[in-house]
C-alpha cells in the first residue's frame, strides 16, 4: 500500500495504491488522524489503484466520517474500481459517503 498526498486550494487529495488491509489501514489512519487535515475544505480519495479494501480499511473511513462531518470537511471518493465500489455498496456506505466517478466531479463538489 502506498499513500501519496497532494494539496491544492483547501483540498487534500490522497492517492491510494495497492491493497488496503489490516496492516496498511494503520498508515491510512495515521494520515487521516493528522490535526491539520481539518483545515481543508475537502479531502478527496483517489481510488484508481485501490485493488482491495478490507473491513479494517472501511473501519478507518467510518471512524473518521463523523469527525470530518463535525468539522465541515467534505470527504469524497473518486475513480473507484467496480469491485471496491461493490464493497462500499453492500455495506451501505454509498448512501453515507460521496462516491463520484471522476476527479473532475470530485473537485466540482
Amino acid at each position: 500500500m502506498k499513500i501519496t498526498q497532494q494539496t491544492s486550494e483547501n483540498t487534500l487529495t490522497l492517492t491510494l495504491d495497492g491493497e488496503l488491509d489490516a496492516s496498511s489501514s494503520v498508515l491510512l489512519d495515521t494520515e487521516l488522524s493528522q490535526p491539520d487535515i481539518l483545515n481543508n475544505k475537502k479531502v478527496l480519495i483517489d481510488c484508481q489503484r485501490l485493488n482491495y479494501i478490507s473491513s479494517a480499511g472501511l473501519g478507518v473511513f467510518i471512524s473518521h466520517l463523523q469527525r470530518f462531518q463535525d468539522a465541515g470537511v467534505k470527504l469524497a471518493f473518486f475513480n473507484m474500481q467496480e469491485k471496491v465500489h461493490n464493497v462500499f455498496e453492500i455495506l451501505g456506505l454509498d448512501s453515507l459517503m460521496t462516491i463520484v466517478p471522476s476527479e473532475a466531479e470530485a473537485v466540482a463538489l
Binding site: 473491513s55 463523523q66 469491485k83 451501505g92
Partner: protein, 696 residues
Amino acid sequence: MPQTQPLKSLALPLALVSWVALLLTTLLRANPTLLAVQLPAWLTLLAQGVFVGSVFLHQRYQPDPLRGTDFVGVLRRLIMGPGLLASICVGLHLLERLLQFQLGIADRTLFAIIYTLNLGLFVLFLAHTCYTWRSLVLFRASPTVHKQWAWFEVLLGSTLLLRLVNLQLPLLAAGIILGALGVFGAYLSSHQRWVAYLNRRQKWEVILLQLGVLLALGVFTIYFLRIRHDPQLVAPQPQHAFLLLTVFFAAFYALMGLLVTLFNLPTAGVFEQKREEIMTMQRLTQQIQRGQSEVEIYTSFFDAARQTVNAEAAWLRINSLEGEPYSRLEVVTEAQSLAMEGLLKDYNISGIEYLNNDLPSSSGFRALDLPFGSLLVLPLRSAKHTYGDLYLLRQTRQGFDRESLSMLQTFASQTILSIENLRLLQDSIQNERYKEELKIASSVQESLIPKTLPTDNWFEISSHALAAKEVGGDFYDFLHLPGKGLAILIGDVSGKGITAAFHMAQMKGIFHALMQENPLAKDEKERFPLPSKFMAMANRALVHCLERSSFITATLYIVEYESGGFVFARAGHCHTLYYHSLKEEVAFFRSAGLGLGIIRNETYDKYIKNQFYDYNPGDVMVIYTDGIVEARNAEQEEYGEERLRQMLEKTYYLQADEIKEAILEDLGEFSYGQPIHDDQTLLVIKFKTAQPGTHP
C-alpha cells in the same frame, strides 16, 4: 611404573638409615680415640652419597608440588617449609660458632652433630628446591624439555657417583665437566613460562619469595664455604662439589626467575588488562542468558567498552530502543557529543568505524576545543539493522590501539547478538500470547455457532463454517419463534481475534434478547420485532460497546410457515442469493441497508428496510459471508457473486446438502493452493411442500 614401586617405598627408610650412618661415621671420625682403626673416608662418603641419593629419589616420587597455576603457593611452601627450617639451623650453628670463638671452646662432637644435622636439612631443602624448580621448568613445557630435564638429573646424579668413588680427575677435566653441567643448568633455568601467568601483585610476591630462596641458599653457601677450611671439619672434601653444583643450579634458577619476573613487571598491566577483557567478555556473554532488558545490555556494553580501553569519556547513541531513541553520556556533555557527531557527519564518516588517534591535528576537532586527543567510533550494526554508535574518547593522543579495537568489535557483535536474541525472545513470547488469544477466540467462536440445525418438514438447512487461521468474526444463529416460525441471523464482525469473538458474543446476546415474544403485543404483527426494528435496536445497543472503527454486518430473516413467506432486513451484509422455482430464475435480493455501528444516532433507522417475500416449494436461499465471494485464486481474482449465482443455477434442483457441497467443491477448486484469508460461512435453505400434520 610398577618397577619403581620398591625404590619409592625404600627411599625414605634408606635416607634415614644412611643419615644415621653418616652421623655415626662423622662422630667416629671426630673422636678417633673411640675406635682402634681409622675409618676410611669412603665410608662417610658412601653414607652421604646414599643419603643424598635417597632424599632426591624420595622427593622425585612425591606428587608434583604445583597445583593448577598456584605458583606463589609452591614457592611459599618451599620457603616456609624446608627453607625456613634449614636456615634457622644454620643460623643457630653460626651463632654457636661465634660464641665458641668468643669463649674459646672447641667441642668437635657437638660441632659434628650440628654439622651432620645441617647437612641433612640442607640436602632436604636442596631436593625440595630442585623439584620445585622442576615443576616450574616443566610447566607447559615441550616433551624435549622433559627429556632434557631427565638428562640433567642423570648427569647431576653421576657427578655424585663420581665424587663417591673419589675419582681424582685432572683439574681441567673436572672444570670442563662441571662447567658443562653448569651451562646445561643455566639453559634449563631459561624456562620461565609460568611467570606470564602472574598478575602484578603475585609477581611482587614471587620476587620476595625468590629473594628468600636466594637468601637461604646464600646462607648455606657461606656456611659451607667457611666450614671447608675449618680445622674442626671432619667431613671429607669431595662432597662439597656436589652440593655446590646443586646450589649453583638452584640459585641460578631462582635468580633467573627473579629477573624474569622483575622484567615482566611492567607488562603485568597488559596481561591483567587482557585478562580483564576476557572476564568482561564472559560477563557480557552471561548477561545474554539472563533475559535482561535492552537498556541493561547496552549499559553493560558501554561500561565494558569504557573499562577495556580506559576511555576518559564516552557516549552511546542508540537509534531505536523498543521504538525510542536512547543515549548515554559519560563525562562529555550533550552539546559536546552533538558537536562531534555533527563534525563526523560533515566529514561524511558517520555510521562507520572510525579511529582518530590525533584529534588536535584535525582543524575541525581543534575548533571544538575539547580536552581530548583520541576518538574511536564503533557502529553497532548487524546485517539487517543499524542500532547505533559508540563513541570513546581519551585525553592522550595515540590513545587507542588495533588490539583494543578488535576487542571492542567482539564486544559490539556480542552485544548485537544479545539484543537480537532478546528481541527474538520477546517476539516469540508475543507470538505465544497471540496464539493463546487466538485459541480462546476460536473456542469462543466455536461455542457461539449452533451445533444442531433446526429440523423441520417445511425446509432443509445445510450449513458450513470454516474459520481462517486468524479468527475472524463470522457467526450465524437460529431461534424458534413459538407459533410463528424461525429466525435466522447471519453476520460478520469487523476485526479479528478476541475482540471479534467478544462482539460476536454480544451480537448473539442481543439476538436472543430482542427476539423474545412481547407479552403486551396487541396483534400478531407485534409479537416479535420486525427485522428492521431488530436492526435499529441492535445498532443502538452496539453503539455502547463497539469501538469507532468497528462495525457489524448482519441479515435477519424471519420465516413464517403458516403464511409461506419470510421477511428480512439486510444491515450491510452480503446480498442473499435466491432461486425462484416458479420463475425458474436465480437472482440476488439487491436491497439497501447499512452496517451496524456505522451511524451512531437515531438516523440509522432510515437506512434499514424490511423486505417481504412469499416463497414456494423448491425455492432455494443461499446465505453466506464475504469470505466466500472474496476467496481468491492464484491470479488474485475473487470468486465473486456471479460465479456463485451460476453454481446455484446448476444445482438448484438438488437437496440443500448437495447444493452446499457442490458450491464448496467449486470454491475449493477455484482457490486451490491459496490460503484462506477470511472466515467462510455458507447456509443453504431449501423450502419444501408443507406436509400437513407434521409442522410444529
